[in-house]
């Protein structure tokens, strides 16, 4: 059951500094204390609050943010939670704490690989760019980020503009109503990423299957998940070999060529990086397009504002990125490499922290009227693309795609409306309509 933490949250958190006595003794299940914590704990710091089940939101119930997040932000801030698999974790719910954990190098992603990391899947995650710490991460990121600068992305914009316009022309020609996901939101990012990597059109359908499988939380068994991972890895390994022998003008060839003064990407790094790019860049963007449309059409005056003035689109994209809690729950835990105080709570060395970007983005301590869409929000430093060393590699690309998608929609189908009940994704890390019937 995914119940709200509500009343069970009263005794949250160890106070980090002047220690007060009288904390109610919490149940001390063996799995509440990570074995890696070697620093001698003070007496009260032994008592960790009992973890509450997480994620708070039910699967498939739209884009709302569970009230438990607001309770947590106003209350303890840092909450002990238990994900479906792995050890318990701290959940950061406030903007300040979220940004701190993501930006502080005393928190490690790499340690997640050596621990029973809190997660949604039974399967353990594979090493990737997102499971590396500096300086290894820095080396890899430098090599790859040259392909993802704003300049490179702007170069793709005219092509993406044509693509969005063409997809909408086809959708309109086929007649109202239509599924926005199948006809617009999915083909766009798939084509962009496949174009970037140079993946042939004939293989693009298969990519959607693999990408879906890799992001599914519980739909697949561990074996099925592994099989999908292996297939995708196998495909990409073959593809790397092909490009190595016969370089073209695409990202894959560029990555094979990429080198700094000291070294270049290993075969394994290349393949794993491409998997990361595919998975990270495909489902997220494809989900945010229908999420944007759903959110705007629920507040039609906001949609109309964009129809009347498409120049507002870039600001609207930033605001929608802030407003929409895309993740089904906080993912990608960070491990404390030493004792660190976060938001008044002492996180012990070896303990895991997950960060709710959706909650941080609605924190009234950081954003005025966080529940209101405001396209002209000043200094909108939302955390929708993360923060710190792992800040989304594809953020500029995603922004450009989302801007072009939204611009095309408000200019070509200004009378867009929801034409039926959406079907929501279930058991995925990201939330979005799987099917979104629209008319015009």
């Amino acid at each position: 059951m995914l119940g709200p933490p509500g009343a069970t949250q009263s005794a949250q958190g160890r106070t980090a500094l002047p220690v007060t006595t009288g904390n109610p003794p919490s149940a001390t299940f063996p799995w509440e204390r990570p074995l890696t914590s070697t620093t001698p704990p003070t007496s009260t710091s032994l008592s960790l609050p009992a973890p509450v089940p997480y994620p708070f939101n039910e699967q498939g119930d739209g884009l709302g943010l569970h009230a438990a997040y607001a309770d947590a932000r106003e209350g303890a801030g840092m909450v002990r939670v238990r994900l479906p698999h792995g050890e318990p974790a701290w959940l950061a719910t406030r903007y300040e704490d979220a940004r701190f954990v993501l930006g502080d190098l005393r928190f490690s992603r790499a340690m997640a690989l050596e621990n029973d990391e809190p997660r949604y899947n039974a399967a353990r995650s594979k090493p990737s760019i997102l499971s590396m710490d500096p300086p290894d991460h820095t080396r890899l990121r430098t090599l790859v980020s040259r392909a993802f600068t704003r300049h490179q992305v702007e170069g793709l914009r005219p092509w993406v503009r044509e693509l969005t316009s063409g997809l909408l022309d086809e959708m309109v020609a086929a007649g109202s109503p239509a599924d926005l996901v199948e006809n617009f939101a999915l083909p766009l990012p798939v084509q962009v990423i496949c174009e970037l990597l140079g993946v042939p059109a004939s293989d693009r359908g298969q990519f959607r299957v693999w990408s879906d499988a890799l992001l599914s939380t519980t739909r697949l068994t561990e074996d099925e998940l592994k099989e999908n991972q292996d297939q995708l890895t196998g495909y990409l390994a073959g593809y790397v070999a092909e490009r190595r022998a016969d370089p073209r003008d695409d990202l894959m060839s560029g990555l094979i060529e990429a080198r700094d003064a000291k070294d270049r990407l290993s075969e394994e790094e290349l393949v794993s990086l491409c998997v990361a790019i595919l998975v990270a860049g495909h489902e997220t963007t494809a989900s945010q397009i229908p999420n944007f449309v759903w959110t705007l059409l629920e507040q039609p005056e906001e949609w109309q504002r964009l129809v009347d003035d498409p120049e507002l689109v870039p600001g609207a994209v930033e605001e929608l990125m802030r407003y929409i809690p895309l993740g089904a729950g906080a993912a990608f835990p960070r491990y404390a490499k030493e004792d660190v105080e976060v938001g008044g709570v002492l996180v012990r060395r070896g303990e895991a922290v997950v960060v709710s970007l959706g909650s941080a983005n609605r924190d009234p301590a950081r954003f005025d009227e966080p529940e209101t869409l405001r396209f002209d929000r000043p200094a909108n430093q939302h955390l929708g693309f993360g923060h710190g060393v792992h800040h989304c590699l594809g953020a500029q690309l995603a922004r450009m795609e989302l801007q072009e998608a939204l611009r095309a929609l408000v200019t070509k189908v200004p009378g867009l409306r929801i034409a039926g009940e959406p079907e929501w994704k279930r058991q995925m890390l990201v939330r979005a309509p799987r099917v979104l019937p629209v008319g015009w």
Partner: protein, 76 residues
């Protein structure tokens, strides 16, 4: 090549720390946004600075030619 000038736009910085990791003598990340080390904004030409500008996830680092003001990085 002549001397270069480096700048960080703290309003768009996302605190990735790429700059401070790649060129710790020139950039620091203390607090929410990175900045140029005091007195290090005007520097000799150095390839690593272009790497920094290219790999900044927010394109917050600009490298210009100290004399002409021409933008050298991020590279197109």
């Amino acid at each position: 090549m002549g001397a270069w000038h480096i700048e960080v736009d703290e309003n768009v910085c996302v605190g990735s720390g790429m700059c401070a990791a790649l060129a710790p003598d020139r950039f620091v990340l203390e607090g929410p946004a990175a900045s140029v080390v005091q007195g290090a904004a005007d520097t000799d030409a150095d390839e690593v600075l272009l790497d920094v500008a290219d790999s900044c996830p927010a394109s917050a680092v600009t490298v210009t030619d100290g004399e002409s003001g021409e933008v050298l990085g991020p590279r197109p």
